[in-house]
């Protein structure tokens, strides 16, 4: 196939987005695409796996994400691909038009005629082989100068998606021209479109030549493109990440690529997406991956449903969720936050998140597990003058050299081996051993081993805030709050 011979397809993975409609599972500090909730992979990891299966293991994807998620994204990239790809940090969220413009700008610095395959990180497509075939079918169409969209056969008159009305087949290809786009129709219109046939859901996946999209952006998104090109003129390396100029990027209008370009350009084609597709956009969509029962319920995690029908129950593995005599609900339970809402209003869950923010509840945005470049931690209990955390350090991970003014720490290693620096002394602490860090002592924790290091930390002191940390040296160029 000419396209993949001449031009390697460069995957572009859009890994921003908060996934508020999946609260409390998905939160700002760990959005849905990064949670390992299906087959022990995150949706982002599944996306990377799918791209590698379709395009080859030597892909170097361009990944666009926010700074807050960068260490998790890099960890998951390395876990699936062995390389971190090219992770570009968006200084703030500017919707998909600016994100695509940014990817195009970066890609054109290498190869103006590269084919870019833009994929959201938060969609579930199980059949990687079918996905690969469809992309291969689309490649010659994109190569020939079209912006290719992928059209999913509608299974119901959904009102939350964009619809594409296909036109004539493009001879000698798998693609059709596009007659019209209809964004989020009302139910009646959606039913009419499905009845008339020839309509697809817009899967939000795109394939195009960088220079072709660049031209379309210049025509339809000129101001945004200029802002992004200014911002990304000289990306600044930061460890394995690339940073761009915040002020310049902030000038790009906040609009989706569909509204800004796809619905206006005259060179758009659609290739029928003959693969399964789930945008995991709500609890109801996610629930299609849960186990079901004969009463129309969908369950993930420990649950007991009594006289319950048409209900979605998500329960964290550490707890049990029981429903009795209810119908048509979503019940999602995690150890620190619970949601109950009607299934029919699953698209509106972000209203709840907004109310939680208003009430200044940290659970609105913060996940109990906090990811750091060296691993992660989560709180087990908070007392009056103490708190207990579970800490996981990745092989090779090393916390900053630091000290605390107000707390002492006890570390008990429960898995793996720690190299612990206290003052001038360095010692190895292994499973079932403990170590004590007095107040004011310079100290550092490192995992020199080949498996994850897990330890229990008991902090005692009069002030236990995360901001009582003086970093003397850090491997990861972090801000004080990270």
């Amino acid at each position: 196939m000419a396209a993949s011979e001449n031009h390697r397809i460069v995957p572009v993975v859009l890994c921003g987005g908060g996934g508020e409609r999946l609260w409390p599972l998905s939160r700002t500090s760990l959005a849905k695409q990064l949670i390992r909730l299906h087959e022990n992979r995150s949706l982002f990891e599944a996306t990377i796996d799918r791209l590698a299966a379709s395009l080859g293991n030597d892909i170097v994807p361009i990944v666009l994400t926010g700074a807050g998620d960068r260490f998790v994204v890099a960890e998951q990239m390395r876990a699936r691909l062995g390389n971190p790809g090219k992770i570009i940090l968006e200084p703030m969220r500017r919707d998909t038009a600016a994100a695509v413009a940014l990817a195009v700008t970066i890609a054109m610095q290498d190869d103006p005629t590269a084919l870019l395959l833009v994929c959201p990180a938060d969609h579930l497509i199980e059949d990687a082989r079918a996905f690969g075939r469809v992309v291969a079918d689309a490649a010659p169409v994109a190569e020939a100068g079209r912006i290719v969209t992928f059209g999913v056969e509608p299974t119901e008159p959904a009102t939350g998606y964009g619809y594409i009305r296909a036109g004539a087949p493009i001879e000698g290809t798998a693609a059709l021209t596009v007659d019209r786009f209809v964004e989020k129709p009302d139910r009646e219109r959606a039913e009419a479109m499905i009845a008339s046939g020839g309509h697809f859901w817009n899967a939000g996946i795109f394939l195009f030549r960088a220079d072709v999209m660049h031209a379309a952006l210049r025509t339809h998104f000129a101001e945004g493109l200029a802002a992004v090109e200014e911002a990304a003129r000289e990306p600044i390396p930061d460890l394995e990440f690339w940073r761009i100029d915040e002020t310049a990027f902030g000038a790009a209008p906040k609009i989706s690529i569909d509204y800004a370009v796809i619905e206006k350009a005259d060179n758009v084609a659609v290739v029928p997406a003959r693969f399964d597709w789930n945008d995991v956009g709500s609890w109801v969509a996610l629930a299609t991956t849960f186990r079901g029962d004969s009463a129309g319920n969908a369950m993930r995690g420990p649950s007991v449903l009594v006289e319950t029908s048409d209900t979605v129950v998500y329960s964290d593995p550490r707890m049990v969720t029981a429903t009795f005599g209810v119908e048509g609900l979503v019940v999602a339970a995690t150890p620190d936050a619970v949601l109950v809402a009607p299934k029919a209003r699953a698209q509106e869950i972000r209203k709840v998140v907004a109310e939680l923010r208003q009430a200044k509840r940290k659970e609105a945005d913060l996940h109990p597990e906090v990811f750091r470049p060296w691993g992660s931690y989560h709180g087990l209990v908070e007392g009056d003058r103490y708190q207990v955390k579970k800490i996981r350090v990745k092989p090779g991970g090393r916390l900053s050299l630091q000290r605390h003014n107000h707390r002492a720490e006890h570390w008990i290693v429960v898995r793996g081996t720690a190299e612990v620096t206290i003052g001038e002394e360095i010692k190895m602490v292994t499973e079932n051993e403990s170590v004590y860090i007095p107040i004011g002592a310079n100290h550092r924790l490192e995992n020199p081993g080949k498996i994850d290091l897990e330890l229990i930390e008991v902090q005692t002191g009069s002030y236990l805030g995360e901001d009582d940390i003086i970093r003397i040296s850090d491997d990861y160029n972090r801000t004080p709050a990270e």
Copy 2:
């Protein structure tokens, strides 16, 4: 007043019962009357406080409870009254007729004409002064040979209570004769009774002379009384508890005192109960003590209710519960178990508990906090070869001298002072200090101080079950499982 001059009133507190309708807050291992859920007191403690306020601080209540709850009951008795009272352990649950027979048998060993005031431990009565006045009014009536019931003015045609139809006033007293009892009527009948007036709810509180009830039991519950008298002939002291014969007690029929005696005896009177009364029999009843809002919701604990009405939300203080777009529900969330059910079916929650038992979920019966005679503990996290617990030891509390074959333990003291025995060595471990117990070492933990001792225990080993404990010596006469 003659009665209280001649015969001290002896309170009898019935502290059995599981409170399954308040699952997941109330569980077999810590039933609703023992949970400190209202003004930081348990319903049992509030009952003791009310009795002390009405009858004097020198009361020595007879408390009937199950063996599983004995240490919590004794702890709460001591906390409120300074003495443990006379705690009789019912070998198994035999409903209230056998419990009253047991209290009568025990009381008659001291004073056959004592006045006994029988109170369930799980009712909420806020106005202790009014309660005391009503009891004082009833005393001469009981003294004169009547079995006095207390009648609550009905506020709605409830179908879950027993009703008393009052007869003529008994001259010179606050009491009326009783025309008829109606147990748990249907709604129509309940409405008719309320419309006709002269009906009360049976509050389940009784005042009578021991010998008077003894005669009534002999007439109407002969077999049960004989079994109980046989069982309680020689109560066996066990620390501060009294044990009775299990086999003999097991022969008593399982029936309520209302069915067995009160509805049959001809010497029953009713005194109008001019005090607030809540049997806390369901989430809906408990919710009347919660804070409310203008949409008819009732909330306790951190919660955010959006477009929600007529809903009861209980949320553990360590978490947040959010509801959106729902009506008429009960949502109860604890860190290890969540319940969602319609308010209208709050009486049927035990069906859920039965299903959880069927599914062998430990959350059906076990509370995360486990009470021991020396204090309590609860699990913080369970890992592959480790687990972490928070342990609280009361002042003077001492765990058994013990050893483990499969686990080592790290203890970090976060509050108070511990006296720790390891092998032959005894040492003091104070706040912010830690100690290590190797596998196989004999060890013991004691709180020699004046405040609670709190410590974090990290167990590591290949087997971490509670049954890996060899007790060499124990202060509390416990079974291996306790």
